[in-house]
Symmetry: C2
Subunit: 370 residues, 2 copies
DNA sequence: CTGAAAGCGCTAACAC
DNA sequence: GTGTTAGCGCTTTCAG
């Protein structure tokens, strides 16, 4: 009998009490020591109400008596309650998050835009899931897929890279809201900067300033922005009946970052100088970072800016201010903000046609071309 | 009877069929048209197995017959199944995500570190939730809280800002793994760069090069990195029995970004030049961005680098290469990677004491001090 | 090896 | 107003 009693006890102990004791202890530890793992059930128990009521209170549902509300709130605060992120998201069938698929290489642009995105997203209380692409040629699709795992995000922001054609139907079919920033596709909302217009404005300024022999140093023309800026330059020249001096035009040979580097600008300027006896009266450069290289090359040859030659850049990066560079400003922070706004608009109303917002850049006049 | 029949029918129709029909239709649309919203139930039904089995197959559980596995996999592929992110995370009680609380202002540093983080995190298949802090004085705590909402992430990376003392117990109590990057707190793992050592190495190089009158231009000494770099400089001087020339030492007045700007360097150098008849033979500058300003100021006065005065910077930012700046390189990409590794280590084993990893920076010799 | 069932923590429709 | 219950979609025992 002693034996069977022990056996019985053992069985009973293991299967029931043990479990319960553990649970009780565990809850106790959680509540008292960790302030962690508190659920609406804990609150409901303490406040002597149902979990539905707790949920209602926590979600600001008005159909609760003030008395109950107070009580629940008090308990919740005392227990240091925090809703479980993913339980909410699952039940609500909403991710409360958006993702950004963004290339890392365009550093200057990157930071500013991201700042805008972050600030705006804060207004909505959403999370930002970042997918920084180091190598577009191999990683874009991978990250697109990750960022669209079912339920993960309510929308995606896609930056500065060629949107892979194969994924247009992917997004359309699943109805995942997406907005393209600094890149374009006819089927999706996009936010871009009018490079053509910016270059046009800069060139026009040069022309109105009385410069005749206007040169241009441009990054590789395969790159869309470079091409558009070049086109704007040509258009302004022809609109104002000015000559395009072939000899004062240099396209970067440097392939790194499509030629949008200081060194590419430096080299291109050296080439320009070496192949001419005279120098142009002004140079429009396709980016600030190149322009800094250009100015270096000029000063090495003892050529003064802006006295001997005027220089205008493009982008208005942080350093442009330091160098007193006259340039075309891209409102990057603003672009980030608008991108988020646009995305939320899409998320809240699956509307009609895609919209294409174009920001017109503005001229910032500093020392290199007064 | 006609009436009661209709009534009955109506009731029946509304309460049962209607609902079911809708569900069937809906599922149909989903499956066929949208490839979306497929659940393991759909797969189980199609493959004629239980949902448990489906889950097992999908999770690579070995206790499934090959035959069943094949069948399930086939159906899953055909239906274009994707697991619901948050359902998984909820059931697994694991977030499969980490967050980064990072200030936006330190742009150069920022990008590189983040690249490292992103690349490493990719290995683990985790998501990165980004909280970019624009205004540390007001936003840090807000973002810390957001990033620690229950269940949201498995760990957090905290960058470059003073960790708020009030939150030490917050993290400790909840047992949320955190690693500090580019900042320090005795109670948490941290990864920093040995600024002292870096400055020491740079100064030593200057000394061994035979320079006697070595000056220093430093950002605001309230800033920890600036202070540590200054201390390293002094130590090297005294270790090698060199004089510290008070007159060739300038601390930035500029408060913006603690004086880590091109303009601050430029102004400080002007001040150095204006208050001495002679110039030092070498200048150690507390950051590359300032060094660029210093070089500008020097060249404006016709002082040649490195012929008249040698310059060494700190950081090795992108532009340093362009300017041929000799500098102290911080392995930022590497730091990002290691930070993630360390965090995962913490997440997988709640170990003992916090570890403090210090990277020793290395000297990069370029033109400004051969 | 596999199906059924009990969670994970929360929301929302449904009764009373 | 408020408690109960049925999901959200997946994981993980627990029996066979």
């Amino acid at each position: 009998m002693g034996y069977s009693l022990r056996k019985l006890f053992k069985w009973w102990f293991l299967n029931l009490t043990m479990k319960k004791i553990f649970i009780i202890l565990w809850k106790h530890f959680q509540n008292k020591w960790f302030f962690y793992g508190i659920t609406i059930y804990d609150i409901a128990r303490e406040a002597k109400v149902g979990i539905g009521t707790v949920s209602r209170v926590l979600n600001g549902n008005p159909h609760v008596s003030d008395e109950t509300r107070r009580k629940v709130l008090e308990v919740a605060r005392r227990l240091n309650y925090q809703p479980h992120t993913y339980a909410q998201r699952l039940a609500k069938q909403k991710a409360y998050a958006i993702s950004a698929v963004i290339p890392f290489f365009i550093s200057y642009f990157f930071i500013e835009v991201l700042r805008g995105v972050q600030d705006k997203i804060l207004d909505y209380g959403f999370d930002l899931v970042l997918y920084g692409v180091n190598d577009p040629s191999t990683q874009v699709e991978h990250y697109i897929q990750k960022s669209t795992h079912r339920g993960k995000v309510d929308g995606v922001l896609f930056f500065s890279m060629k949107f892979p054609e194969a994924y247009t139907s992917y997004f359309k079919q699943r109805g995942i809201p997406i907005v393209l920033v600094d890149t374009f596709h006819p089927k999706f909302d996009s936010i871009t900067v009018d490079n053509f217009q910016g270059a046009y404005i800069a060139t026009k300024h040069l022309i109105e300033h009385g410069y005749e022999k206007i040169g241009m140093i441009v990054a590789r023309l395969e790159s869309m922005p470079a091409k558009q800026r070049f086109d704007g330059f040509r258009k302004a020249l022809s609109d104002y009946g000015k000559i395009f001096y072939e000899e004062y035009f240099v396209e970067s040979r440097d392939t790194r970052l499509d030629g949008f580097t200081r060194d590419a600008g430096y080299q291109a300027c050296k080439e320009l100088l070496s192949r001419n006896r005279e120098i142009p009266s002004a140079i429009f450069v396709s980016s600030d970072i190149q322009a800094i290289g250009v100015i270096e090359a000029l000063s090495e040859r003892g050529i003064k800016v802006p006295d001997d030659v005027a220089v205008i850049g493009f982008d208005d990066i942080e350093l442009a201010k330091d160098f007193g560079l006259t340039t075309v400003r891209q409102p990057m922070y603003e672009i980030g903000k608008v991108a988020v706004e646009k995305l939320f608009e899409r998320m809240n109303s699956r509307k009609t046609k895609p919209e294409h917002i174009k920001f017109t850049p503005e001229l910032v006049i500093r020392k290199t071309c007064p």
